[in-house]
Amino acid sequence: MQLVETDILVIGGGSTGTGVAWDAALRGLRVVLVEKRDLTHGTTGRYHGLLHSGGRYAVKDPQSAVECIEENRILRRTHAHCIEDTGGLFVVTPEDEGEYPERFKAACLKVGIPCEELPLAEAFRREPMLNRRISRVFAVPDGSADSFLSTHATAQAASQAGAKVLIYHEVIHPVVEGGDGDRRVVGAVVRNMVSGEEFTVRAAMTINAAGAWAGKLAAAAGIEVKIIPGKGTMVAMNHRIVNTVINRCKMPSDGDIIVPVHTVAVIGTTDEKVTDPELLRIEPWEVQLMLDEGDKLVPGISRARVLRAWAGVRPLYQEGFSGQSRDATRSLTLLDHQERDGVSGFLTITGGKWTTFRLMAETTMDMACKQLGVTRPCKTADTFVPGIEQGHYWLGHRLHEIEEHRLQGSLVCECELVTRSMLEQAALKNPTVTLDDLRRDVRLGMGPCQGGFCTYRAAGILHELQLAAEPAGTAASLPAHAVTPAAEEPWDVAYLQSPSHSRQEVGSQSAPAAARLPAASPALLLRDFLQERWRGLTPILWGQQLKQERLDELIYLSVLNADHLPNAGDSSPLTEFWQFDTTPAEAHKTASETATQTAGEVQP
């Protein structure tokens, strides 16, 4: 088995894991990061997008609030283009009586969160859709964040500093050496999920940043870490119903936040303790609760068009905690397994939230360096990820560039304004395994039609790239080496979201590298992406969105007959993911059986 040696092995490609890899690489350490799917496939890519000011936790969890406001200020500099400066409002609805608002204001000021009470007329001028029965409004420096972009940008920064970032690489098991009282984690056996190739990564220090999966990973090393998996369900509305983050001014609860992110407004969240982080099934009552609670902030929001619902699982942790997940601390937790369990070479970083990912990484690497005897300071608070010169995100930037350069004709996804060159650059400048990876890169398929038009186009365009990457005269299948992402080349994501920049890049590079392109056939890329979109649609399909879905069916069933393509029932790297994700255990069996049967009987 092949052996890779490194100083730091990071397990988990969410915001925390990439943050750790970045921090470690900037300290001059050799780093390998492994993520079993795409970056942000776990909780990072499933959160509502709120850059916390800390106001939400000021009363209940002041430690968390302090972490938030400090990191809020740092991320606005280090990850400027990943953040929209929306500002945030805490509003007192008729249901939020009592002394909380006063306590809130005092607590904010105490921990250093700027908090200004607005005249109601000013608040309604800024947000005309707000409930007119709101009695008080406080402005705080909340924002909204693109967790896909920020995590990819952090990964790029890490890889530029020398880290190897390996996506679609799953840990089979940690490697533990030594006997009782002297056990040591020295790395992990890792499998490339696409090629099936296995190898060992040997590391001086292994960092468990697997988020909601951290308990499972620790268990594999013989350590008990009781993660409290708190499932949060969110719904995305078809419009930016508000342009400011809206919070209920009360103790944190279900459905009390609306976050404007890119073209949508997200209502969040529930907080349900679940048994397994893969159990992301959304119950009808959860969607109903989000809409009912949303109505209290913006009356009528429940009758507006809903695009999608999804759930993420918070990796909450509290030593000895046994209550409801809503009450578990949001503060970060670093577990030193040497001190706690007598297992050296292994740290678990958990808890926290997207807003504090950089601090989590710093805390982790401070401890790792201490144990490794390295004395280099953390640099991430003063280092910028590539792309910040674009400034903060603003909603109109894509439309502006497309109109300025007259790129309307090259739109592949009209909903989210993705041009063909954006899609191609995203596919060529990152390791790409699925169309869903491209969704995270450029927002393909995230708009009203949920992939109805762009999935077919993306499959056609990727197929043309695959053809261009083949040496002339070879067969249609890609060479075997193509399945290992080229980790040595730094990623380049800084301008992925810029239509004009992507256009200038076209033709500037040599022939596309097959290694970066999906190995799966276009038919399977298409099927898997449509299935992934379907998963988030079924909880919210009614009204206009149901009609839209029926149009998508017309395109794929009637016009394209896409389920009768050759090999349409084959397995792909994503098949087991979506089969598991989509369905409860009972129906799971049926789904896989159906797929198998279809495979055998498509065309006579």
Binding site: R406, Y456, W542, L554, A595, V602
Partner: protein
């Protein structure tokens, strides 16, 4: 004074209106917007699959008896189905947009989809007919570099995998347009210009090899479709055919135009932008319907009404987050589960389809909507098309077939009721007023 108001201007509504007008009724059509033909491949799909959606149906006529008794085809019966298809063939000839069967009349045949899957169809428009995959003639698929809704290499790869010898070529869009953002409809208009036909024809001639037939995206002209196609075939020296595209569908636009022109010859007005927002019913009879317009509601009174608003896709059904699901004009009873958790299956492309799309309006054998006890709901109301229960036309590949068969049957039944059953329902070509251009019968 209007005899029959048809609500809905899709294939079902236009068919019903034309059938009733041919039977002598004074007919008016009110529609909300452009119809679903603008999204479809505009082939006449009669019955491509039966659930579960696996192997395609080869012989639709012998398959009919296996359909559920509530299926619109079972309700219509084979005689009325064949009569409706004959009407359609006559109309398509009279309108200059002939539809043709495959090599074996009465059987389905396979045409390439825009991704290279095989689509089972019953009748194809003249322009798509040469794509018949029962022929072993090699194919050359031609696309354009700035056209985002057609990928010839992908299409060719999938056809090759299914044993059809296929090559692909991508030509410069500048041969046919200077626009950078032209959609299919704009490209089709550009191709009616002679200089673009010459430019493209020359490029096709250079690209094609002896013995090949040429498949192009369905953009070969709008009103001048047949001329455009034949000019290109002549220039290329090879047979040329169209492959449907993602919406907007030029073949669907052409079919709508033809049906509306035939209706105009019968003095039937088709009013678009008129959504029905209110109805008056008393004593089991529909008195009037009210449409929304920009200025004020309009009331439309008639002896009879025919509902062809479509299902979820056409806007005939609406639903909300509480799981309510209703028919939008008359609130007719629907057999759809009133519990959202039962609407869908876990797989998007499930071979059994999604349960929510299977329900609809139940009708008697005269295509009159039934109440929940099985009696006729309103004595002067008929229904046709996508809103009918007992089928999921997208799963079955029966979208156009059901619209046509039920539209003709409902139109006939309404006419028979209003004229006391004296009218026959002949629709021979002789019925077409003089001056209608005789269609050239293609090979």
């Amino acid at each position: 004074m209007i005899d029959l108001i048809v609500i809905g201007a899709g294939l079902a509504g236009l068919t019903a209106a034309l059938t009733a007008a041919e039977a002598g009724l004074r007919v008016k059509v009110v529609g909300k917007g452009l119809n679903a033909l603008h999204w479809s491949a505009a082939t006449l799909d009669l019955l491509g699959y039966t659930p579960p959606r696996r192997a395609p149906v080869r012989e639709p006529w012998t398959t009919l008896p296996h359909l559920s008794l509530t299926h619109p085809y079972q309700i219509a019966g084979e005689l009325r189905m064949r009569a409706a298809l004959q009407r359609f063939l006559n109309w398509s000839q009279a309108g200059g947009l002939p539809y043709l069967p495959g090599a074996v009349e009465g059987e389905n045949f396979m045409l390439p989809s825009p991704i290279g899957a095989m689509r089972p169809v019953y009748l194809a428009p003249y322009g798509q007919r040469e794509g018949d995959l029962s022929s072993q003639q090699p194919l050359l698929i031609v696309g354009f570099d700035r056209m985002r809704d057609f990928y010839p290499h992908l299409l060719a790869e999938h056809l090759n995998k299914q044993g059809h010898s296929t090559r692909a070529v991508v030509l410069s869009s500048s041969l046919i347009t200077q626009r950078s953002d032209a959609n299919t409809v704009q490209l089709a208009a550009e191709l009616e210009r002679r200089e673009h036909q010459i430019a493209l024809g020359g490029a096709l001639k250079s690209a094609v090899r002896p013995g090949e037939r040429i498949g192009l995206p369905a953009i070969l002209g709008l009103d001048e479709h047949t001329k455009t196609l034949e000019a290109l075939a002549a220039a290329a020296g090879a047979p040329v055919f169209e492959i449907p595209t993602l919406p907007p569908s030029v073949p669907g636009l052409r079919l709508t135009t033809v049906l509306r022109s035939l209706l105009a010859r019968r003095h039937v007005r088709v009013e678009i932008g008129m959504e029905v927002v209110g109805v008056q019913v008393e004593d089991g009879v529909v008195r009037w319907v009210e449409t929304a317009t920009s200025s004020r509601p309009l009331r439309h009174t008639a002896s009879a009404f025919l509902l062809a608003t479509g299902g979820v896709l056409g806007g005939g059904f609406q639903s909300d987050h509480q799981g309510r699901f209703w028919e939008t004009v008359f609130d007719l009873p629907l057999n759809v589960p009133q519990d959202r958790s039962q609407w869908f299956r876990p797989l998007f492309l499930d071979a059994e389809g999604q349960p929510v799309f299977h329900g609809g309006v139940a009708v008697d054998n005269q295509f009159q909507p039934l109440d929940s006890k099985g009696g006729v709901m309103y004595r002067n109301l008929w229904a046709a098309g996508g809103l009918l229960a007992g089928t999921d036309p997208l799963q079955e590949h029966s979208l156009e077939g059901i619209a046509l068969v039920s539209g003709a049957a409902a139109g006939e039944a309404a006419a028979a009721a209003l004229t006391g059953g004296r009218q026959t329902n002949e629709a021979a070509p002789a019925d077409i007023p003089a001056g209608a251009s005789a269609a050239k019968t293609p090979q």
